[in-house]
């Protein structure tokens, strides 16, 4: 009623943006208060995709929960798998073999590419550049086929295990990936020629949705959104996990913290990811991919079928409540997912299921800064800013 009245007097107008709006990718909702074309106030509403992951974590085995992490950030499930098992492994106090660490890095970086590609496609699509969407999906399909050959699924990969990975890389992996990363820069250049100096793209993203670096820290922004404001912070560098300290790469930063800088940072991150993939491929060590401890990772199939101990170990890990049992305690582990800091805070009571699994999602905090970026801007900028943040509803609402 209130809104109706104000609309009649021509003062303020309330625009309900979403939840079903093409630019909100399904599940975000923003209520905008407008004065003509400019935004006075933006109020995001969320929870439309709330699924109860954290509650589910209290009922599933540590290994079963990996399946749930896939479905959280579905643009780059492999990074989630990685972040989660890393947290459990640190809680257990184990370290996986070198080869496994490298494989995980490979997969995480490839999925960073996949994530940024999808972001690029949809962000450009929302601003009217349809061909970029088709180009980036063409590249993504190549990645999909690599993922599918490695993990058995295109999207819901569930590739990592506590103490290792599902299986070793397939025989032609090296070739496939090398081919991909040699062709990829060309595809990226294509996009650059389409967007980077494009008048329309620049007009719609430059100076749009800016945030200063102090505000970004205050809001808890992470990932490309934080780096676009000029802060050189990357968890892969600051607290190297797995074997990231053995990789050389650069952390691209922006300076204005606007949508255009976020775009540039992500574009450059893709190049850096390619470098990391290259190095990881070149230096991929031999050896086992799982920890030797039979209480943590499944024994070989031949052992499970051929020896009684193997069978018992297999049975115990699979059996409800007998699987991986970290000691009583708690642990927080952060990884640099494509969107920023993805943290898992796990409280263990010593049993086979977590007592409390808290997911610290990057999108949740990035999305929170949206009103700050929007207010005072134009209503048409909403789409540009939203696109540049890459908010993933599955991770936002969990």
């Amino acid at each position: 009623m209130h809104a109706e009245l104000e609309r009649a007097t021509g003062e303020k107008m309330v625009l309900n943006f979403g939840p079903q709006h093409p630019a909100t990718h399904g599940t975000l909702r923003i209520v905008l208060e407008l004065d003509g074309e400019s935004i006075l106030k933006a109020t995001p509403h969320l929870g439309y995709l709330h699924t109860g992951f954290e509650k589910l974590g209290e009922h599933l085995d540590y290994n079963q929960f990996i399946v749930v992490t896939d479905r959280m950030n579905y643009l780059s499930p492999l990074s989630n798998n990685f972040g989660y098992v890393l947290a459990v492994e640190q809680l257990l106090g184990i370290e996986v073999p070198k080869r496994c660490q490298y494989i995980r890095i490979l997969m995480a970086e490839l999925s960073r590419l996949a994530d940024h590609l999808l972001w690029l496609g949809t962000a450009a699509l929302d601003l009217g550049a349809f061909s970029v969407f088709l180009y980036s999906f063409r590249e993504r399909e190549k990645l999909y086929s690599i993922f599918e050959k490695t993990t058995g699924a295109r999207l819901t990969t569930s590739y990592t295990r506590v103490g290792g990975v599902l299986r070793d890389l397939y025989a032609g992996f090296d070739e496939d990936v090398r081919q991909f990363i040699t062709n990829f820069p060309k595809a990226l250049r294509e996009t650059h020629t389409l967007l980077t100096r494009n008048r329309i793209w620049m007009d719609r993203t430059k100076g749009v949705g800016p945030i200063a670096s102090e505000d970004a820290i205050n809001y808890g922004l992470t990932g490309p959104c934080l780096r676009a404001t000029g802060i050189t912070h990357d968890i892969r560098k600051a607290e190297p996990y797995s074997s990231y300290d053995e990789m050389t790469f650069e952390v691209p930063v922006g300076s204005n913290g606007d949508a255009y800088d976020r775009y540039l940072v992500r574009m450059e991150e893709m190049v850096q990811s390619c470098h990391i993939v290259q190095q990881a491929l070149d230096n991929l060590p031999d050896g086992p991919v799982n920890v030797e401890d039979n209480k943590i990772s499944l024994p070989k199939k031949s052992d499970a079928y051929g020896h009684i101990e193997g069978l018992i170990h297999h049975f115990k890990i699979i059996m409800d409540g007998h699987g991986v049992q970290p000691p009583v305690g708690e642990h927080y582990c952060a990884t640099e997912s494509p969107n920023g800091e993805l943290g898992f805070y796990i409280v263990s009571d010593g049993s086979g299921t977590g007592y409390r699994i808290r997911i610290r999602p990057p999108s949740f905090l990035n999305f929170q800064a949206l009103p700050h970026m929007l207010e005072g801007g134009m209503v048409s900028d909403t789409v540009a800013v939203l696109g540049s943040l890459n908010v993933i509803a599955g991770e936002l609402d969990r």
Partner: protein
């Protein structure tokens, strides 16, 4: 910050806290992921403010606010006078590249904690989520509403006494009054 240093002497943040907030600290620990401290509810705000503003520490980044329902974790319950909930803050310092966990026990009879939104704007939604999921009220919060669940939802899903499959909300939720 190499290993030997941190073994030899306790981290700077612990020294500082012990100097200034000795009474407030209920427990402290050096963990694999940084430092963890437990503080009483009344001192929590002041301590967090100190951590943020003290130039030598510089915990300017609030990573996460959440809570744990300890009602089925006897070992934790006995430590803090049977306080059912533990509000957990994770902080990070860009200067020292180190993490800190601050835990605040909260009794069920008095489910109130002072909000830190005045220190970190990022705390806004995190506290709302904690309120939604655990029913812990944050005093001084500008807009304490449910965030993930519908407004007319009853109960707090992440409490241990709330069943995984809900209490029939899946069938009986309100189609009409929801603001769509």
């Amino acid at each position: 910050m190499n290993e030997e240093q941190s073994v030899a002497e306790s981290p700077l943040v612990l020294q500082k806290l012990q100097e200034n907030y000795a009474d407030a600290l209920l427990a402290h620990e050096e963990t694999r992921d940084g430092v963890a401290v437990v503080v009483g509810k009344d001192d929590a705000y002041a301590l967090l403010e100190y951590l943020k503003t003290e130039a030598e520490l510089g915990y300017t980044y609030l990573v996460d606010v959440t809570a744990v329902d300890n009602s089925q974790l006897e070992s934790e319950l006995v430590k803090y006078d049977y306080a059912r909930f533990m509000v957990v803050y994770h902080l990070y310092s860009y200067q020292g590249c180190c993490r800190l966990r601050v835990k605040v026990p909260v009794h069920e009879r008095d489910l109130r904690v002072r909000s830190v939104t005045s220190l970190w704007r990022g705390a806004n939604w995190l506290e709302r989520e904690t309120y939604d999921m655990f029913g812990i009220a944050f005093e001084g919060h500008p807009d304490l509403r449910r965030i993930l669940m519908p407004d007319d939802f009853d109960g707090h899903p992440l409490r241990k006494d709330y069943p995984l499959r809900g209490r029939g909300e899946r069938e009986s939720f309100n189609f009409e009054t929801q603001n769509v």
